[in-house]
Amino acid sequence: MKIVRTCTACSLAVLAAAIVAAACARARASWGLDAIDRMATPPDPPLACGVELGADPAAAMRAACAYGPGAPASETLGLDPSALATVPVRHVIVLMKENRSFDHLLGWLHDRGQPGVEQVPATWANPDGTGAAVAPFHETSTCVPWDPGHQSADLAAGIDGGRMDGFVLRAAFTTGTDGHVAMAAHDAPDLPFYYWLAATFAVSDRHFAPMASGTFPNRNFLLFGSNAGVVDTGNVYPPPNTPSLLQLLMNAGYTWGVYTDGTPLSGALGWRQGDPGVHPMQAFLDALDHGTLPNVAFVDGIDNVEDDHPPADLQRGETWVRTVYEHALASPQWLRLAIIWTYDEAGGFADHVPPPPGCPAGASEFTDRGPRVPLVVVSPWARRGYASHVEHDHTAITRLAEALFGLPALTGRDANSDALLDLFDFSCGRDLTVPPAPAAGTGACGP
């Protein structure tokens, strides 16, 4: 019997080693989207103008979160479906960058060519660990070396129940510094092209991260209309059977593409180069040059280098955006484009506007939005020099795609979003040319 037990114990040990080894080799999910690589983008309908967006009769219903999944955009936006079908924009480019709040990136925009955006209150400050008030200050370096904490617990502390006064203390806790970096802000001379885009095209000063947390859940809202079960950034991904904007586009015969030389979608789905629908950055620039864009393109810079995620040099990220802009402007599809330049979340940098709650999103229990992030619509059809104050989050981008391509809402969050339509002007006879853009900034990253 002793021999039997010894052998059994040995067998258990071997089995344990095998199981642990198998568990460590964590297999990846399969998203079932392979068909995207075989789909052709449908030809654009003839260019039209004069689409009257007019009044917004459904605004009160949306504010009351009255619409649910499946709701057509024509109903929730109070628009004739045939009018939506003639909107000239047929290709949406989502340039979602990383981790900058509105006040941090564009804090002086009110005084630098766009007086329509809300000015940072002179009295707004955050206390530091000594009790001293820290006001927003001009950060002359565009490569801040610290990355303030920005997951759900950090954001809850920073937002502090809407007082917006906990960012410095939280940054001190998560960076091991005095935390003043949370109040750093960049001015137009640091980021001349970014400021020019925001002042020239249509900017929103009420665009919030959809969830008070990090990259993964916020990017999930863009794709799924909810956090898809993910609370913080880590190595947890949404269930691959979660209904998504990607599926809805393909159902209707429209195409999408993910373009980056870094981590696709900043890692939110665990995708890699070579996965279905994922392409290198050069393929995106080629598509712009040749007029072969998919209907929706999700474009990301290289992580921590081009995507503006600290400690990236913002001026390098600005140069990257300018490259995209120049190719877009020269593209044969320029008149059918809308570039949405925004940030996934505020990255622990302070903002003075308390985030309003969002509508419930499916089974998600999270309605707390994160701080404001910049959002600029760059398009010949953008309302020039316009500052929007309509409250929304990334699901407004989702809703824009749903409106343009006749797709149903995924959840209550995108169903009750405004689709960014006030940032556009589709009237006829407008001057669609754009003034020359300044160069991106240089030399602010120290020696």
Partner: protein, 311 residues
């Protein structure tokens, strides 16, 4: 017909394996039993193997929520017994434990504490109780409830996929047919079963009801050794009316384990499981569908028990 063949072949293989095991374990009793049974009822003893005491385990797992490690300390009462002259064979496993650890490897990693309770009971009717080998009909039910809460003020740092901060309940009812062999201090059962199982899925934290089939094999040497395996396959259908889609989830799970007693009071065990969901998401209006596969859920559990029985 296609799917039935491997299932039947599997059942046959299991039964054949059971015979081989039975022969290896007690050839002296198996050979003469038929002749002896015809002459006079054999004085076959009832089978009994029970444990009541303290248990602890450490479970390592990987899956949708990354890597996790949880430990338990609690009490457990389990056993297998025959009664009514071996006409009935019952099996039970009841336990309650404090549980803690890291349920998933989301960042920042946060430890959680909570508890778990489980009840698993199965009754089997041996159709030929006087014989060592008998056909067996079983019915059983099981439920497992777990609750975990983060230990730090970082109260929402875990994915709501893993049931943190809510009671996560699974359960099943099962009926099956198979074979039972009882020898002195030894019991072997091999069954094929159908069950209705309720378990959470990634998209449905509240759970879906799966209709499943499977096979199971269990060998017990009273208070010396036990070996158990289960393999199940089944599907559940869910619908999202708003989007007009249906989602058929197919769940495949294999689990197995062994325990060995080290002396009169201690035992150690090792259990492992592997499960995976595949889904077919269908949009009837556009006649499109997506076949997706979730990250497999793998787990290995090391356990130990200390018997408080007076044996």
């Amino acid at each position: 017909m296609g799917p039935r063949v491997p299932l039947l072949a599997g059942v046959r293989a299991l039964l054949a394996g059971a015979v081989v095991l039975a022969l290896a374990l007690g050839p002296g009793e198996v050979a003469p039993r038929a002749a002896a049974a015809d002459l006079e009822p054999p004085a076959l003893p009832e089978f009994s193997s029970t444990f009541g005491g303290l248990t602890s385990d450490v479970a390592l797992r990987s899956g949708q929520t990354g890597y996790g490690a949880l430990a338990e300390l609690g009490a457990r009462w389990l056993g297998t017994e025959s009664f009514r002259v071996r006409a009935w064979l019952i099996r039970w496993d009841l336990g309650a434990a404090a549980r803690g650890g890291v349920p998933g490897s989301v960042l920042p990693v946060t430890a959680s504490l909570g508890g778990r309770a489980h009840v698993d009971a199965e009754a089997g009717r041996r159709l030929e109780p006087a014989r060592p080998w008998s056909a067996l009909v079983i019915a059983g039910a099981a439920t497992d409830a777990e609750w975990l809460a983060p230990t730090s003020s970082r109260s929402a740092t875990l994915s709501d996929l893993n049931g943190t901060e809510r009671v996560s309940v699974t359960g099943r009812v099962r009926a099956g047919l198979g074979a039972s062999w009882l020898g002195p201090g030894k019991a072997l059962t091999a069954i094929a079963f159908l069950q209705e199982a309720h378990r959470p899925t990634g998209l449905s934290p509240a759970g879906l009801m799966f209709t499943e089939g499977g096979v199971g094999l269990r060998l017990e040497l009273a208070r010396a050794f036990s070996l158990r395996t289960d393999a199940t396959w089944g599907t559940a259908l869910s619908r999202q009316a708003g989007l007009g889609l249906s989602d058929r989830t197919t769940h495949v799970e294999v689990r197995g384990g062994a325990s060995v007693w080290l002396g009169r009071r201690f035992w150690i065990g090792l259990d492992g499981s592997a499960a995976r969901d595949t889904d077919r998401v269908s949009y009837p209006v556009s006649h499109t569908f997506y076949s997706t596969t979730s990250t497999p859920e793998l787990a290995v559990t090391f356990s130990a028990g200390y018997s408080l029985d007076r044996r």
